[in-house]
Subunit: 342 residues, 2 copies
């Protein structure tokens, strides 16, 4: 007869939940009790199989989460929410990393065929599908927190994101209100027709509305295959170049927090201070924007809420209540110590 | 007749590789050329299908990479190497996130059955399998950069990691050589019998060899389900408590770089300086250890080399050249500006 979790609990003289805590490596358990339980499990050859059962039961109720690059800690919190929300629905999900050279739509079409998916989340990244190809995806799908190329008909698909133009406008407008007139931007390369383009657009509009002439010399980016665009290294390298060329500016808007961290480092290495010499701000609201010294003024995306909404919409589609639905979330300007009045 | 990539190149008067660059969103392409190509692709309904074909061809040559938690940017660089190395072998891989409450071994056994895997990489996390269960995995597998519980027979499996005891000894010994005698440690909770335990052990041994009495009051951790052990927030909260209790110390060893960043922030908030008031060091060699201000003294794990070795060993097993093989990599002490002589 198969040993059960109840048998182990009885043998060890503990509750079933204590056995469960031991098995699941839960911190809230006495070390000796845990050792006792693990010994009993071994001795009586008990095989905890809840998680295996869960996995099996839900194998035909599967959501694929496609993600391009995992360089961004931004997604970690979203994945935790996905995990919880999808589990509540008695579905399982798997994460599929889309390789840099792959088109996420091709990957999605292939996965759909092979795995009998019930739904797809495209997490982050850019989205450049042709209309034709979009129609080939037969299961409900939603784009979450990434960018959609401006060539895509936004009514033809569901998405959850922030308004990148508006939020980046908010950030740059804030710098203008602090008195800055010479504001540089660490942007994505010009072939980025998605998030990078939108955030640059917000920058331009904010300058215009504040009566500041656009200076192309203050728009900086780097084309280098070896460096991820939204990374610390990217921000660092672009900022080093900007300082080296002797450009005249008092503030810099980095279009991601990671870039902003790298930019600060380049400023420190040049013997300058943040915000005394240059104000620096970012975008996203990553943990590091709080823990960095100085803390970084940023636009915080409501990632948990966006993740919840992503799953809600996806299941409304799966369960036939809607065809498509989209939501733009407002983001929050969080003032850190990296920006100052001038 | 199906439109091919050659047709598109001919129609646009460009080379095939330029079309490929346009499709794959490569930065090194003229914007107008790209627009022209994308228009032609749409007009002639060309479906780039290389990546789809790759996916299909290799569907029976699949490696699963199991990862518990994706809070650590440490893994990003490893995944890039996995991607390249696995592709060279004409295999594909998929990333499977193991949920916090799941046992990775149960998940692995289930995946093995369903997906006809050729191999498994357990990336990071802790590894607590019973010997019985380990034998149930029929395909080659390897543990990479995580910790193995000291209850596991290390000869029964392949692994690639650093020697956590030795490397943490190196870090603490360095602090001793700088003259520190009162060294606190931000450690994992005591039920961690893997990486956390090993790094604490190295700390204790280094103190002993330097003739310093072990002071349990300087070993600090936090038990809180809501906070990931190796995170910035964890380091921040533990350091706040440490300072609040008025403990007497001049240096602190945080067992991860993220913890070290959080610890620095708590020190700054208390109106103190790093390293003037407290020296701080971390472990892992994450990007942030370089970009933080001050840069953080750390132990850099050779992640790229470890990732390459992981795949080499796995394929030596898959191709029948070896049964198991393990390698401990030496890590490098990287001196930042967060530590000083006293």
């Amino acid at each position: 007869m198969e040993t059960t979790i109840k048998d182990i609990a009885r043998i060890c003289g503990v509750s079933v939940s204590t056995v469960s805590r031991a098995i699941n490596n839960h911190p809230d358990i006495n070390m000796e009790t845990k050792a006792l339980i693990m010994d009993a499990i071994k001795k009586y050859n008990y095989i905890p199989n809840n998680s295996a059962r869960n996995l099996k039961r839900s194998e035909s109720n599967t959501i694929a989460v496609l993600i391009k690059g995992i360089t961004n800690t931004f997604y970690t919190n979203m994945l935790k929410v996905f995990e919880n929300e999808i589990q509540k629905k008695k579905y399982s999900f798997f994460l599929h990393r889309v390789e840099e050279h792959q088109n996420e739509l091709d990957v999605a079409l292939e996965l759909e065929k092979e795995k009998k998916l019930k739904g797809i989340v495209f997490l982050g990244g850019y989205f450049y599908p042709s209309g034709e190809k979009l129609k080939q995806i037969k299961v409900p799908f939603i784009l979450s927190t990434g960018g959609i190329a401006d060539t895509v008909d936004k009514k033809s698909c569901s998405f959850v994101m922030v308004d990148d133009v508006r939020e980046s406008y908010k950030m740059v407008d804030y710098l203008c209100q602090l008195g800055h007139r010479k504001i540089a931007i660490i942007s994505a390369p010009p072939d980025d027709i998605s998030i990078g383009k939108s955030r640059l657009e917000g920058y331009k509009e904010a300058l215009k509305d504040n009566g500041i002439d656009f200076d192309p010399n203050l728009v900086r980016y780097k084309i280098d295959d070896g460096i991820d665009t939204f990374s610390m290294k990217y921000g660092y390298e672009v900022m080093k170049d900007l300082i080296k060329t002797g450009a005249d500016f008092t503030a810099v808007f980095a279009i991601s927090d990671s870039m902003a961290v790298g930019a600060c480092k380049a400023i420190f290495e040049a013997g300058k201070k943040v915000p005394d010499d240059y104000s620096v701000c970012g975008f996203d609201g990553l943990d590091i924007s709080f823990y960095y010294e100085p803390s970084i003024t940023t636009i915080r995306q409501p990632v948990e809420e966006m993740a919840e909404e992503t799953i809600r919409i996806l299941f409304d589609m799966i369960e036939g209540r809607i065809d498509t639905e989209s939501k733009l979330f407002p983001a929050e300007l969080v003032v850190g110590k990296s920006t100052r009045n001038i």
